[in-house]
């Protein structure tokens, strides 16, 4: 069957990590695996897309696809679907891809499944609910292609050893009435230290830290460990303590580090889905009944503001010895 992966690509041709995970899975599912990349950098993604299993890359470097939200991409995808009739399209849950998938569903009348954690066939997928306590098997019906948004880190990305994908240029005229929601400015905050998705250790803080200033205790611990990044729960991001880029959970990042240290985070299901696949979990919380302790390899019942500096000192001592 024909399986497509909608791949977001940076200007330099770097492919969004979720697309590589989805391409890896697509190889198991389809006889023909293709990627679709729209926007500057798209054609440069041919080598990576091929390396992870795409035989074909439908690509356009036209900036119309990134200058305007969703509508041009949906228009082009719809044309490609009519021409080539894939059975299944996989998406990452990035903002741009969610916009595209949501609109495409209405355009094609196809089913759209979000938060998939595994795909077993063209019309059979799994998701996990209640913070990953239950696995749900779902059958998909209705017209092709079925649309599935896959949770990050559901599959380990693995190169197939294949050569570059064959680039098929996408030449679709985009009508002016689809050039409405215009991206006029971009603002990026530079983050210090290792990226959250790549850090071996993540120390995440929540409401239990009481005040934004206390995040420095997490930074000090991260500094003592070395290859560590600082993250946060949704509650403190919403409260404006730290930027959104640090948010871990359902609406933030999904991470899977060697060690995850949850500090003053109770463990709401929306947070758990973003971190429960971490190899080892340490939880520090005052409340013995906090759900996070059920997931912890090591749980510490106590006041984080007291315990954290002691842990930092112990690590420094260990490293110094």
């Amino acid at each position: 069957m024909g399986v497509w992966v909608y791949a977001e690509v940076a200007d330099d041709g770097k492919v969004e990590p979720g697309a590589l995970e989805n391409l890896t899975k697509a190889r198991d599912l389809g006889t023909e695996v293709s990627a679709v990349a729209l926007g500057p950098g798209a054609t440069q993604a041919a080598a990576t897309a091929g390396e992870y299993g795409a035989q074909t890359l439908y690509a356009s470097d036209d900036s119309v696809y990134t200058d305007y939200i969703a509508q041009p991409a949906v228009h082009a995808l719809h044309e490609l679907i009519q021409q080539h009739q894939p059975e299944l399209i996989l998406f990452s849950p990035t903002y741009d891809s969610r916009d595209v998938a949501g609109r495409l569903q209405a355009r094609t009348g196809a089913t759209l499944m979000s938060n998939a954690t595994d795909i077993l066939g063209p019309d059979y997928a799994q998701t996990q609910i209640f913070g990953g306590q239950q696995i749900v098997d779902v059958t998909l019906s209705g017209p092709n292609p079925k649309l599935v948004i896959v949770r990050p880190k559901s599959f380990e990305p693995q190169p197939s050893g294949g050569g570059p994908a064959q680039v098929v240029p996408v030449e679709v005229e985009i009508p002016d009435e689809l050039k409405k929601a215009s991206r006029v400015e971009r603002h990026e905050q530079a983050a210090a230290g290792p990226k959250i998705e790549e850090a071996k250790v993540i120390i995440a803080g929540g409401r239990g830290l009481q005040q934004p200033e206390n995040f420095k205790l997490l930074e000090e611990l991260a500094g003592a460990i070395g290859s560590a990044a600082v993250g946060a729960s949704r509650a403190v991001v919403d409260a404006g303590w730290v930027p959104y880029a640090m948010q871990i959970g359902q609406t933030g990042k999904t991470v899977s580090p060697e060690v995850y240290i949850a500090v003053g985070i109770s463990g709401a299901i929306q947070h758990l889905v973003g971190m429960k696949t971490s190899k080892r979990i340490i939880a520090i919380n005052k409340d013995r009944e906090a759900p996070i302790f059920q997931y912890a390899d090591l749980g510490i019942v106590g006041d984080a503001l007291k315990v954290l500096p002691e842990i930092t000192a112990a690590i420094k001592a260990k490293k110094g010895s």
Binding site: R103, A106, T111, L112, Q134, V138, S141, L298, I315
Partner: protein
């Protein structure tokens, strides 16, 4: 300016959701409320209406108890409510829901449709975009800030590493994040007035949608528990914590 606020009634927003034998979330007979994410939707709608002298219509699809969610929005200050309830709708997927909501929106004049980023119970996170496509209007989504000026909107769209500014002519669909505002609490006066505000109840027939068109394209075949993780060690005495943490980090080879 006519603003439509899309809201959802969710069971137990603070508690643990329950699943029935039909593999659907139990929504009836369960204490429910306006989805907490939708309080930000209503707040954003009210602020824009206050600035432009517009009116806010709260629109929801759900069982009869969903009226409670609309009431809450009305008591915050929204002007009227519309609830779509139909026996063909329980189990509806995002395609059906978007089709139904779009049909209800098209019945009147509107300038702006505001929704949440995702619901607290289903969190599919794509519904407002599908509504936008059915209405053939643009979407400016994931807004942490919204302004309306001269017939167009300007939003700050949340991104991985910061935000983008997106401008878009009206009519349009906007979704707002929880960071966009601080929802107001209903006043006693607001709660009293809410009972007098116009409330419309619609069925699929009123929208010209057949039960066949409302058929879901997804079916849950089974639910199984994820194997429980082996219980970890819990230290009631935080004094032991530093040594234990160092031991775990050493074992994980990260220090």
């Amino acid at each position: 300016m006519n603003i439509i606020a899309l809201v959802k009634y969710v069971p137990n927003p603070e508690g643990t959701p329950q699943m029935g034998p039909d593999h659907r979330l139990v929504r009836e007979g369960v204490e429910g409320a306006l989805d907490p994410g939708d309080e930000h939707v209503v707040e954003a709608a009210l602020q824009l209406a206050e600035q432009s002298g517009g009116e806010v219509t709260v629109l929801s699809m759900g069982p009869e108890p969903a009226l409670a969610a609309i009431r809450r929005a009305l008591s915050m200050g929204a002007h009227k409510g519309v609830l779509i309830t139909d026996q063909a709708l329980p189990g509806a997927d995002t395609l059906v829901t978007a089709r139904v909501l779009a049909a209800a929106i098209k019945r009147g004049e509107f300038d702006l449709v505001i929704g949440g980023v995702e619901s607290t119970d289903g969190y599919t996170g794509t519904l407002p975009m599908a509504v936008a496509e059915f209405l053939a209007i643009p979407n400016a989504t994931f807004a942490r800030h919204v302004e309306v000026k001269d017939g167009s909107i300007r939003i700050e769209r949340q991104t991985e590493m910061g935000y983008d500014v997106v401008e878009c002519p009206l009519p349009a669909v906007v979704t707002v994040t929880a960071g966009a505002n601080q929802p107001r609490y209903p006043t006693l006066k607001g709660i009293m007035q809410a009972k007098q505000k116009p409330m419309e109840n619609l069925t699929l027939g009123d929208l010209g949608i057949s039960a066949e068109e409302a058929k879901a394209t997804q079916e849950v075949m089974g639910v199984e528990p994820v194997p429980a993780k082996e219980a970890g060690e819990i230290l009631e005495d935080p004094g032991e914590a530093p040594a234990k943490v160092v031991e775990l980090l050493s074992k994980a080879k990260v220090i």
